[in-house]
């Protein structure tokens, strides 16, 4: 657990976040989420509510958001759930941040397929831009985390930044993505090479005639 997030000081967190409450919009959204579950099973709403809270904290702090202890307790009270049970859920899932993160949460996949396809280069690009694993850059822009498989192995290596995936990365394209982000721009989401989602590189290799119009292949089979 050496690279586990360092949970911020409780007293400080309580002073800053003790008065947390839903915004009007999120309160309505929370009601809607809770209503999805049958009566008596409202505690099932804990995961979407934690996500909603993390997003609200993010909006308030101009970052990707995290879950301060008083915020988890706020949700625990709303769902009539022991605080410990909320805390267990929040610590179990890696997508809930237990410590503040930067505006861009750079989650680089380091699992086998990505590693074989060059995730080390992606890490090198991050390191070169001053990103350190488990830490936020001094300008508050980037937080780097190494994560396990995010399910985009066909486009390895990949990185998830906030809610978007950037795929088929190389050292250069990863550097470019980070540069664009730090300049305030929005890089192209998805594959960084000539490729549509997980379709073959450089366009289709089969059924090429189908690209422009509906083609009847039956004649070709004879």
């Amino acid at each position: 657990m050496a690279d586990a997030p360092h949970i911020p000081d409780e007293a400080e967190t309580r002073a800053r976040w003790g008065a947390f409450a839903w915004t009007a919009e999120n309160a309505a959204q929370a009601e809607k989420i809770i209503a999805r579950y049958p009566a008596g099973r409202q505690q099932s709403a804990v995961m979407p509510l934690l996500d909603l809270a993390q997003r609200q904290v993010g909006a308030e702090t101009q970052t990707q958001g995290w879950l301060p202890v008083p915020v988890m307790e706020y949700i625990g009270r709303q769902l009539d759930m022991p605080y410990m049970r909320v805390y267990e859920v929040a610590t179990f899932y890696t997508m809930y941040n237990l410590a503040p993160v930067g505006r861009y949460h750079v989650q680089v996949c380091g699992t086998t397929p990505c590693m074989l396809r060059g995730s080390d280069d992606v890490f090198a690009a991050c390191k070169n831009k001053g990103l350190v694993k488990g830490a936020t850059t001094p300008d508050g822009l980037f937080t780097l985390t190494e994560v396990e498989c995010l399910g985009a192995c066909a486009n390895a290596p990949m990185v998830q930044i906030n809610d978007d995936n950037y795929e088929d990365l190389t050292y250069d394209s990863m550097s470019a993505v980070l540069e664009t982000l730090s300049a305030g721009g929005q890089p192209k989401i998805g594959p960084q090479i000539d490729r549509q989602t997980s379709a073959p590189e450089g366009g289709p290799t089969t059924l090429k005639e189908m690209v422009s119009e509906n083609h009847d292949y039956r004649g070709d089979w004879a």
Partner: protein, 668 residues
């Protein structure tokens, strides 16, 4: 009744039993870590694997598998042996090899089972995991690297203690058991997780590095911290009791004990009275037994003698005290030290009539003026069980967090006479209704009568069921009442009679200012309030240092044994009274403890039969019409008697858990 075959032996098992229970019925030992009879089934340690046909051709966790008709279970096959060895090897991967410095060593499930079912050697040569220690309060010491994540402590905290503050955070290899944000677990039952822990991850903090289990002498005793009469085992070495652990008794304490029961024992070696004292010129000075006896014999009492019994006394001591007072011509005996003066003409109206085990089946319960969690924690766990089965609880009196939902009706004794419609209706429909009357009620004029009136109006008597319960919290109370330690008018009447000679038998809660003119003889074990006020102190034995008969709140007669000798010149209380009687010229008719017990049983035959005493059932005519607020008499759970006031552990619990003082963790 499914019929199953265990290792070729056919047997019937009760419906709803698990495969593990079926194997146990067949006399087979199934190793386990996470499974515990009194907790929910988790099925995560995988140690209880057995082979079951029909089913998939692989070992199955027997604790979570229901026994079904026609199952063929094997616990001795090659597959099972290999499966156990495999699970054991995995469990030991991250378990440190620190048994020589582990307090659990010698009574460790992991040790025993790895010897019995393990491979003998590990093939693992990677780095082991290490986990930081967690703070769980003044009672529980943690060494979390040893944890095998059975989650027994998590389930206990949530299900039995009702304090869901322990949990498992993170996941996979990083999973850690901790209290919420590492604050102390605010439970009066937290010590039980130490017994539940199958490894040395949770051990008792006050007992850390004190002793090895095999060097301890184990004595069966009865706890005196509250009136539940928890069955305990005192583990002692030489002349010191090192720990108290609960014994299993499903009628009384199941297998739990409160923190006060477990950890008052370090108070047994502190602030002890180990020689007689006599007050000379206003100061207590050490004396010999002969001097002390002579000082008492010199008192011209003329038959004006009284005895006040403390809360921790055994029946034998009280009987010897009573015999001495009567022999000297006195009549006044009192045990209700704090001034309670309830009517005792019918003992059935001041006893917990519902047997504790039956309380679990109650369906509507009314609590009157009681903080059950502090007055009798183990009655509270029974009530929690009843509530899990759907019982409804109403409460009159100050509001407390009892770990379950109580519908509080208000803090006004006059409510007893005019209960809200909803309550009467709920009781009307109840099959097993119960009223629990706490100490706050008995202190109020008329309230006892009001609650007795409820027997009629709420229909508390059903076939084979008596739901009228008075909750005492002094271990000596029921025994004292059976022996006649109750004077009409209570202790005020005793004080008003101005006895010339007052025997205080370990009575530390009495307001001695009211006994200004009396010559006070304190027979007891701790230098507490009673000793401070005394004119002569005769050092006696605590509950660990004498055998004795105790009667718990439901009238259950139980016997404890003597674990160690009293310190210094202190003697067993009955022998002090016997020797004193000689000097005073009123020799008592017994020369040994056995004779004393026989005399006592002759006087009160019920004390001779272990088990529930029969008080009959009759309701005395009592004044009614109480008004005003009720209050629970226990102000601090951890400091209710002289022994726990002398215990540093209890003092720390009180400061930290009741008064909220923060203790920095000692630097390692």
């Amino acid at each position: 009744m499914p019929k199953v075959k265990v290792d070729g032996v056919e047997l019937d098992v009760p419906a709803g039993a698990t495969v593990l229970q079926a194997c146990e019925l067949a006399g087979k030992e199934i190793p386990r870590f996470c499974y515990h009879e009194r907790l929910s089934i988790a099925g995560n340690c995988r140690m209880c694997l057995v082979e079951v046909k029909p089913g998939p051709p692989k070992p199955q966790a027997s604790c979570a598998l229901p026994a079904a008709e026609g199952q063929e279970i094997r616990t001795d096959s090659e597959m099972v042996k290999k499966a156990r060895e495999g699970v054991m090897e995995f469990l030991l991967i991250n378990h440190p090899l620190d048994c020589p410095i582990c307090d659990q060593g010698g009574e460790c499930d992991l040790q025993d089972q790895s010897v019995a079912y393990g491979r003998g050697a590990s093939r693992y040569d990677e780095n082991k995991r290490a986990v930081t220690e967690k703070y769980m309060g003044p009672i529980v010491k943690t060494v979390m690297t040893r944890c095998i994540q059975c989650t027994r402590c998590v389930r206990f905290a949530e299900e039995v203690a009702g304090v869901p503050e322990i949990g498992a955070i993170y996941r996979g290899e990083n999973m850690q058991i901790t209290t919420y944000l590492e604050h102390a677990a605010k439970s009066e039952l937290s010590g039980n997780v130490v017994d539940l822990c199958p490894v040395g991850a949770l051990t008792a903090k006050p007992y850390a590095f004190e002793a090895r289990p095999w060097e301890l002498k184990k004595t069966h005793a009865i706890d005196v911290m509250d009136a539940v009469g928890t069955n305990i085992r005192l583990d002692s070495r030489g002349r010191q009791v090192l720990r108290a652990v609960p014994r299993i008794n499903d009628d009384v304490n199941e297998e739990w004990a409160s923190d006060k029961t477990r950890h008052n024992v370090d108070g047994l070696v502190r602030k002890r009275l180990d020689k007689p004292y006599v007050r000379k010129d206003g100061k207590l000075v050490p004396a010999t037994w002969a001097e002390a006896f002579a000082a008492i014999a010199a008192v011209q009492h003329g038959g004006s003698v009284a005895a006040v019994a403390g809360d921790l006394l055994d029946c034998e001591t009280m009987f010897a005290g009573k015999a001495l007072v009567e022999k000297l011509g006195g009549t006044m005996l009192e045990g209700r030290q704090t001034g309670l003066a309830y009517d005792v003409s019918s003992l059935s109206s001041v006893v917990f009539n519902t047997p504790l085990a039956d309380l679990e089946t109650a369906d509507v319960i009314l609590l009157v003026g009681t903080n059950l969690r502090w007055e009798a924690p183990l009655v509270n766990t029974r009530l929690r069980k009843a509530i899990k089965k759907g019982a409804k609880v109403f409460g009159i009196g100050p509001e407390f967090d009892l770990t379950y939902k109580v519908e509080w009706l208000g803090n006004d004794a006059s409510l007893l006479a005019k209960l809200p419609e909803a309550v009467v209706e709920a009781f009307g429909k109840a099959a097993r209704p119960a009223v629990i009357v706490g100490g706050g009620v008995l202190a109020k004029d008329g309230a006892h009568g009001d609650t007795l009136a409820l027997v009629e109006t709420l229909g508390l008597i059903k076939d084979g069921w008596n739901g009228y319960n008075v909750l005492h919290f002094a271990a000596a109370r029921m025994g004292g009442l059976m022996l006649g330690y109750a004077t009409a008018g209570g202790i005020k009447a005793v004080a008003a009679a101005k006895p010339k000679l007052l025997f205080s038998l370990g009575a530390d809660e009495v307001d001695y200012a009211a006994f200004e003119g009396s010559f006070k003889v304190y027979v007891g074990h701790h230098g507490d309030k009673g000793a401070h006020a005394a004119d002569v102190i005769l050092p006696g034995a605590s509950y660990a240092e004498k055998a004795g008969t105790y009667v718990n709140l439901e009238g259950r007669v139980q016997r404890g044994e003597k674990a160690v000798f009293a310190p210094g010149d202190a003697r067993e209380d009955w022998s002090i009274l016997r020797a004193l009687s000689d000097v005073m010229g009123a020799t008592l008719p017994f020369d040994s403890f056995e004779q004393l017990r026989a005399e006592m049983v002759k006087a009160v035959p019920a004390l001779g039969i272990e088990g529930l005493a029969d008080y009959g059932w009759s309701i005395p005519k009592l004044p009614t019409g109480a008004t005003g607020e009720l209050a629970s008499p226990i102000k601090d759970f951890y400091l209710t008697n002289a022994i726990c006031r002398a215990s540093p552990t209890m003092q720390q619990c009180s400061a930290e858990l009741v008064h909220g003082v923060e203790f920095a963790e000692a630097a390692e």
